[in-house]
């Protein structure tokens, strides 16, 4: 694809290979970059040419307009992943949280929009990505779901998502008849937003060592259901329970790590204060 760069708003549309090239060029120029930031992708001459032709690269280096966003990618305090599944699409958006944060939004046609976003606007960005909006309230009820069913809803294969939705529709039918009908008809969205970060004072060998906050929601025009752990401690049972956009916004506006979450070491980092505005 052709790179499209809007310098006025600091947003560039590109494909994954071109993004990897941009990140590697920025990471090579960033002395404090996290060792995992470099993508290890092979150098891509076409991507470099496209980035240069559109002004994203100036004299071989990323333009200053994108510097704060690329700095967030190179040295994030936390990572964001937002997956939005529907009958016809699976979008995977990525984010890097720091003094100024950055988001790589999945456009859905193989291209992505990369831009910086002030960290306090990250909840708004998630709300836009998942299309959080006013919804009818569902009545009381609860539906137990399995990890396999949830994996099916988030499967890249359209057919598997459709089959998972059929199974979910059946499960919803007794407590939430209207929502069940919509899910069976394909009028559903299941999304999950996860912010994760390294626990202070502990080494991270894999994603399993990270601390995270997650919000997962099944959204239909008949109402919303949130994914919650249920049952006795350790039972690992998952349920979908009625929720509201207000409750979801409560969780999204609290999803960023606080100073305490990031630990004393992070408090020494001048970038750190921007992620915790909840002291008021």
């Amino acid at each position: 694809m052709t790179v499209q760069f809007d310098a006025a708003v600091g947003r560039v549309r590109l494909d994954p290979a071109t993004f990897d090239t941009l990140v590697d060029l920025a990471t090579d120029a960033h002395p404090d970059a996290h060792p995992d930031a470099r993508t290890q992708a092979p150098a891509d001459a076409r991507a470099t040419d496209d980035l240069t032709a559109t002004g994203v690269l100036v004299d071989g280096h990323p333009t200053e307009v994108l510097a704060p966003a690329l700095a967030a990618v190179a040295r994030p305090l936390a990572r964001l992943e937002t997956v939005v599944a529907s009958r016809h699409q699976l979008l995977v958006h990525q984010g890097w949280l720091s003094l100024l944060s950055a988001v790589l939004a999945d456009v859905g046609d193989g291209s992505y929009d990369f831009a910086g976003v002030a960290t306090e606007f990250v909840p708004t960005t998630i709300a836009r990505l998942v299309r959080l909006r006013p919804r009818t309230r569902l009545g009381a009820g609860s539906v137990t779901v399995t990890p396999d069913l949830l994996d099916g809803l988030l499967d890249p294969d359209d057919g598997r998502r459709a089959r998972a939705a059929d199974a979910l529709g059946t499960a919803l039918a007794s407590d939430f008849a209207e929502a069940a009908g919509l899910v069976r008809d394909g009028a559903w969205c299941f999304w999950s937003a996860v912010v994760s970060w390294a626990p202070p004072g502990r080494s991270v060998r894999s994603d399993a060592d990270l601390v995270s906050r997650r919000v997962s929601v099944l959204d239909t025009t008949a109402g919303m259901l949130a994914l919650e752990a249920s049952g006795p401690p350790g039972a690992d049972r998952l349920s979908l329970v009625p929720t509201t956009p207000t409750d979801v916004w409560f969780l999204l506006s609290s999803i960023l790590p606080s100073d305490a979450d990031l630990g004393a070491d992070a408090a020494d980092d001048s970038a750190h204060e921007s992620t915790d505005h909840r002291g008021s």
């Binding site: 002030a118 306090e120 708004t124 709300a127 006013p134 919804r135 916004w249 008021s280």
Partner: protein, 163 residues
């Protein structure tokens, strides 16, 4: 009832007695800053942080609650930067049929704020109570704001000459 921090509640009576509510005592209060605005209550200054605030307006409204709020929503969407409507529901406001909305937008100095608003119409007057906080502080201030909204009372028999 009692409010959580930052202090004891203080009862404010406005619009010639038509509207009463409890506000945090430590918050700064301005009465009638300009036409239609009965009351502004602002959180104490904290360095660098957005000051949460409450605004109560009483204005003439010669239409239904629904039509008024449809127009209000259009106005907010057209005039507030990065406006995202998050929630809307019908519920009792001050003891009368009303509407609640939740939204977020960017202030003129590019701060993310969350705004919660409750509105009702009584005898040709629209009563609106708006709470605005930093988005990242909204969850922490939710209980306080719930107490403020819960304390709102609108008396249809009082203050007919104030609008």
């Amino acid at each position: 009832m009692s409010l959580p921090l930052p202090g004891d509640p203080r009862r404010e009576v406005v619009a010639d007695g038509a509207v009463t509510l409890l506000v945090p005592d430590a918050w700064e209060t301005v009465h009638h800053p300009h036409g239609g605005v009965e009351l502004v209550v602002v959180e104490p200054e904290q360095e660098g942080l957005f000051r949460a605030n409450l605004v109560l307006t009483v204005t003439p409204v010669e239409m239904s609650l629904r039509d008024w709020q449809v127009g209000t929503e259009s106005y907010l969407a057209a005039h507030l930067a990065d406006y995202v409507p998050l929630d809307a529901e019908r519920l009792a406001v001050g003891g009368l049929p009303g509407l609640r909305r939740l939204a977020t937008y960017a202030t003129d100095d590019n701060r993310s704020v969350t705004v919660e608003q409750r509105a009702t119409v009584v005898d040709g007057r629209g009563v609106t109570l708006t709470a605005t906080t930093s988005t990242l502080a909204w969850a922490a201030q939710g209980e306080l704001l719930a107490h403020v909204f819960g304390s709102l009372v609108v008396d249809p028999a009082a203050g007919r000459g104030s609008a």
